[in-house]
């Protein structure tokens, strides 16, 4: 195996990326000339006010949208559309209601040509990893919001991506469920050694989960800022350095 290739697994590079949308006949730029480097295995959170383009950036990384100019490189290869080395976790679980938990988690693998039996063996591992071992045969309608989101996470992990792209994955969950899921995401991220790019509107979540926080501004002329979260893990939300970091991030948004 090529050693150089191996160290580059899950590396994301964004070069001169711009994207604008048409709004009432006018071009509305959301991303302007963005540069970004994420090393393999790192966790990056993207925060910013609504309309700042954070979800747009994630969708471009996923290959669901195309940039106007610039490019995204994954391990040095330019992104053209969706790819097997990336998996997306959406805000809504997006489960297929006619499939059981097992069927949903196997979905990605069967789409990629594995037999149902092979896919299920691997799916079972990840179903247990997200703590749903007893719910393999349950249908999505029988699950709570948190459980459904775990299924979505397991489905993304089952295809063993190098890069996990998460679009406000915990945004719709209750406060308590959310905290538990943040812990679980950290655990999964460390166990699976994936690169994680997370869009969130929750600054505490960004600090808790990530190595870097990218702050995307909405105002014209303001530049994106990349802030390193240099805190030991596991992180403690009430620890003084954590609190200080939160203050600093809030200051980025003019909040106190």
């Amino acid at each position: 195996m090529n050693v150089v290739e191996d160290t580059r697994r899950g590396e994301v590079t964004v070069r001169d990326l711009s994207k604008s949308f048409a709004l009432n006949g006018q071009r509305l730029p959301v991303l302007r000339n963005l540069q970004l480097d994420i090393r393999g295995g790192e966790a990056l959170a993207i925060v910013g006010p609504s309309g700042c383009g954070k979800t747009t950036l994630l969708r471009i990384l996923a290959g669901l949208d195309r940039p106007d100019t610039g490019e995204v490189l994954i391990d040095g290869h330019p992104v053209r559309g969706v790819g097997t080395e990336r998996a997306v976790i959406f805000q809504e679980p997006r489960l297929l209601p006619w499939l059981t938990v097992l069927g949903n988690v196997s979905f990605g693998l069967t789409v990629r040509g594995l037999t149902q039996a092979e896919a299920e063996t691997r799916a079972r591992h990840y179903i247990r990893l997200v703590g749903l071992g007893d719910f393999e045969a349950a249908y999505p309608r029988q699950l709570s919001g948190g459980m459904a989101q775990r299924v979505g996470i397991a489905r993304a992990l089952t295809v063993q991506p190098e890069i996990l792209l998460l679009d406000e994955p915990l945004g719709a969950l209750y406060a308590m469920t959310k905290l538990t899921m943040q812990e679980e995401l950290t655990r999964i991220w460390r166990e699976e050694k994936v690169t994680m790019v997370l869009v969130t509107h929750d600054l505490e979540e960004a600090i808790y989960l990530s190595d870097w926080v990218l702050v995307l501004p909405k105002a014209k002329g303001a530049l994106p800022r990349l802030i390193e979260i240099d805190l030991p893990r596991p992180r403690d939300r009430s620890e003084s350095r954590f609190v200080a970091m939160r203050k600093r991030l809030m200051a980025e948004f003019g909040l106190h």
Partner: protein, 279 residues
């Protein structure tokens, strides 16, 4: 009794005679049945008693036992079997043809926006044109034989299935399609594994609607120009003033409708088990 069994230990609950438990369960089941069918039974009882007692005109509404006797005679004697067979053949053939055409066409039309947009106005126009009003046209084109009868039923059943299928495909959650796409699913895979299963409940709405329409049109077509079939027998018995026989044919038509619906419901339950599941 209730309080006792509430705070009784497992040992105490064993002491409850099994016979009593079975009886109680039976009583609950009977009450559910009564709630559901009680009014129907009362209606039938009123008919029977009213007719024999002369509260209602027994020539128009003969007692139920006479109707049932006529039905039994028609079935066992074989007089009605031919009519049932030909009616089933007409509606079955037309329904099968409508299903065979409308579901694939609907799946195709729902996928491709341009096709759907181009065909929608003409579909709406045809749908609003009563199939019965067009029956004379079909007779002119296809003659008074089987072809025009089957065709008029086919025509009427085609549109509910077609429109329901198109609607089902169009209403598939785009987010699910996008999810499948992120796993690298091709268009055909997305169709087969997302669009098709997601459309099944909607398709069944169309199928059940069409099954009802099929029977309606069957009866109308058989009343207008036929010398066989259950619809013809209703009309024929009325001409000959054989009122119990007339009700026998009506009864069989109702049974046919109930059976068709029950079959579709069973199939739907099997295919869409996921849609019924709640907490």
């Amino acid at each position: 009794m209730t309080f006792q069994s509430l705070d009784s230990s497992p040992v105490a609950s064993v002491e409850v005679p099994p016979g009593a438990a079975i009886l109680r369960r039976g009583a609950v089941a009977a009450r559910t049945k009564f709630n559901r069918y009680g009014l129907l039974l009362a209606f039938l009882a009123f008919w029977q008693i009213g007719s024999t007692q002369g509260w209602i005109n027994p020539t128009v509404f003969p007692p139920l036992d006479k109707i049932l006797a006529a039905t039994w005679e028609g079935l066992v004697g074989g007089a009605l079997l031919d009519d049932i067979a030909i009616s089933l053949q007409r509606s079955g053939l037309a329904f099968a043809a409508a299903v065979g055409l409308a579901i694939p066409l609907g799946l195709f039309m729902g996928q491709i926006r341009a096709v759907e947009q181009a065909l929608d106005p003409i579909l709406q126009f045809f749908r609003q044109t009563s199939a019965l009003a067009l029956y004379p046209v079909f007779i002119l084109l296809l003659g008074l034989g089987e072809a025009s009868k089957v065709f008029v039923i086919f025509w009427a059943t085609l549109f509910p299935i077609l429109l329901a299928t198109i609607g089902g495909v169009k209403e598939v959650d785009r987010k699910l399609i996008e999810m499948a796409a992120t796993f690298g699913a091709s268009r055909t895979t997305i169709f087969r594994r997302v669009v098709l299963p997601a459309s099944v409940p909607s398709i069944f709405v169309g199928l059940r609607l069409s099954a009802t329409t099929a029977l309606l049109l069957l009866i109308a077509a058989e009343m207008i120009g036929a010398n066989k079939g259950l619809g013809f027998q209703v009309m024929n018995a009325q001409y000959n003033f054989q009122i119990p026989q007339m009700f026998a044919a009506i009864l069989l038509l109702a049974a046919l409708g109930l059976t068709a619906n029950a079959l579709l419901v069973t199939l739907q339950r099997r295919l869409c088990r996921w849609a019924d599941l709640t907490h």
